[in-house]
């Protein structure tokens, strides 16, 4: 469980990046954090693993204060995939790259081998096993960074802007991975400004603006609040905008395109 208890974070330059944020994320929850660039989303997740420590308030991970542990220690429980794979890939080959974190966390060589094999298998990276990670395409690099994290099986997985620069096919694969994580009972936190990507996942959504949490609730309810979203400079998913503009509509907004299709087909006989 992750708790933010009235956390405020002020940069050395004086800007307040987090302003009295209180938030609890339970085990196995799926959470989307949305808001414009600069709203504090990345700052928020950096607090979870102690990359940043609060100026006031506290962040607790399973009851432990983030200030009492190093980032490496906290990362064993909370795997964070940052936005830019080019900021972390460095090993001779894909095998070594996945093994890196495992070795850092003290896994024995036998277990390391097992985990590496599992990750390569699961993410379809077998043909690149002995290749340099730098030779992979953008989408493959992204998958590799996620594979690296899942290899040590953290209970919480955080994805920071996973869809940036990805095309439709790559985004589909990401959606699948997230679905798989959810069904495996992991706590999943996705930070993204890609509303269309997040909407079908129907997770809990936290809306951030200027360092504050201005809304927190299930996607189906939150995405209907146009003004709140607009004040955070977040757009509504197209299906929701469509739903709200229809005179005749079902009780809940459309989640997928085919839901909308079927409903409209029923209307315009």
């Amino acid at each position: 469980m992750i708790e933010f208890k009235d956390v405020t974070f002020v940069h050395p330059t004086g800007t307040t990046a987090l302003d009295h944020v209180s938030l609890t994320i339970g085990d196995g929850e799926a959470l989307a954090v949305v808001g414009e660039n600069g709203a504090g989303k990345t700052t928020l997740i950096k607090h979870i693993t102690g990359l940043l420590k609060p100026t006031s308030g506290a962040v607790l991970v399973d009851g432990e204060d983030s200030r009492e542990r190093t980032t490496a220690e906290l990362s064993k429980k909370v795997g964070v995939a940052f936005q830019n794979p080019d900021h972390q890939l460095f090993s001779e080959n894909v095998e070594e790259e996945i093994a890196f974190a495992l070795r850092n966390f003290g896994f024995g060589e036998e277990l390391v081998k097992q985990r590496v094999d599992w990750a390569i298998n699961f993410f379809g990276l077998e043909e690149y096993r002995r290749s340099s990670p730098l030779t992979l395409s953008g989408g493959e690099k992204k998958r590799l960074t996620i594979a690296c994290i899942l290899s040590w099986d953290p209970g919480v997985v955080v994805l920071d802007e996973p869809t940036v620069g990805q095309d439709v096919i790559q985004k589909e694969k990401l959606s699948e991975i997230i679905r798989m994580l959810k069904s495996a009972g992991k706590t999943v936190i996705v930070v993204s400004h890609d509303i269309e990507f997040l909407w079908p996942m129907q997770t809990r959504v936290v809306v951030m603006s200027r360092g504050r949490v201005i809304a927190d609730g299930p996607a189906a309810e939150l995405m209907l609040q146009r003004e709140t979203l607009a004040s955070a400079r977040v757009s509504q998913p197209q299906l929701v905008a469509l739903y709200q503009a229809l005179k005749n509509r079902p009780p809940a907004p459309f989640v997928h395109v085919h839901d909308a299709r079927n409903w409209i087909a029923g209307l315009v006989k």
Binding site: L51, T70, A72, F82, D86, A101, N104
Partner: protein
């Protein structure tokens, strides 16, 4: 790392000193630097340092320069100890340490008060080849970017269990590899992208590019230069002929 950044990176400030022609700022620092090198007396060196601090006050950067000075004391102490241990005279060792501090602050004064644009101007004034000047200016422009990259890379690797603060010296050096490699790789990629952008903006089209801003020296600049040279000559005279006291 911070004192290095604080001591040599330009930050925009408004002062009479900053407004001087960069060539004049360079002249002032060079003259002071030269005095520091040729001085053979601790008192003279302290005098030079004091003078730099006065100029820093005029330039409104006294706090940064004095902070740099405090940090160089560490190295200065090291120099003192090293010289004393290998048998040099006590006062001579102090002299060397003081000289080090003087050299650092006179150089720091120039870099803190001169923007990269002005640095470029100075280099052009010395007719350095265009490619070299451009490479230098671009490199300086990317220093803050690379610092940010390094921080992000460290964050990413720490999140993979890399403990940067623990371990003996060998361990710590080895732990820098996962940070250095991505940094270097990113720099190489960046260079490639910059090269494309340069070509696309007609770099090298003309042998003598024109310049957006015109830099002309003013009367103040000329007066300051003359006064500086005169003071320099007086100081040299004083150092060698008026106060020929050894060391102190």
């Amino acid at each position: 790392m911070n004192w290095v950044a604080g001591g040599f990176i330009f930050r925009r400030t408004e002062s009479v000193y900053h407004r001087l022609d960069p060539r004049v700022k360079l002249l002032l620092s060079i003259l002071l630097f030269t005095l520091a090198i040729i001085s053979r007396s601790i008192l003279e060196l302290l005098g030079i340092i004091a003078f730099v601090l006065v100029l820093s006050e005029i330039a409104k950067i006294l706090r940064r320069v004095s902070r740099t000075m405090v940090f160089t004391m560490g190295f200065a102490a090291f120099i003192f100890v090293l010289n004393y241990l290998i048998g040099k005279n006590l006062l001579l060792s102090v002299l060397y340490a003081a000289r080090f501090v003087a050299i650092v602050v006179t150089t720091s004064l120039f870099f803190i008060t001169t923007s990269p644009d002005e640095l470029e101007q100075v280099m052009n004034a010395f007719h350095l080849p265009r490619d070299i000047v451009f490479a230098f200016v671009t490199a300086v422009r990317f220093i803050p970017v690379m610092l940010m990259d390094a921080l992000q890379i460290m964050d990413a690797q720490k999140s993979r269990g890399l403990e940067m603060q623990k371990g003996n010296l060998v361990r710590r050096v080895r732990n820098m590899v996962p940070v250095l490699i991505p940094l270097v790789v990113n720099s190489v990629i960046r260079s490639g992208e910059l090269a494309e952008a340069m070509e696309s903006r007609a770099y090298g089209a003309v042998a003598r590019p024109t310049s957006l801003n015109l830099y002309r020296s003013s009367l103040v600049d000329r007066v300051v230069s003359v006064v500086a040279v005169v003071l320099f000559a007086l100081a040299v005279y004083a150092f060698y002929f008026v106060f020929p006291t050894q060391l102190l």
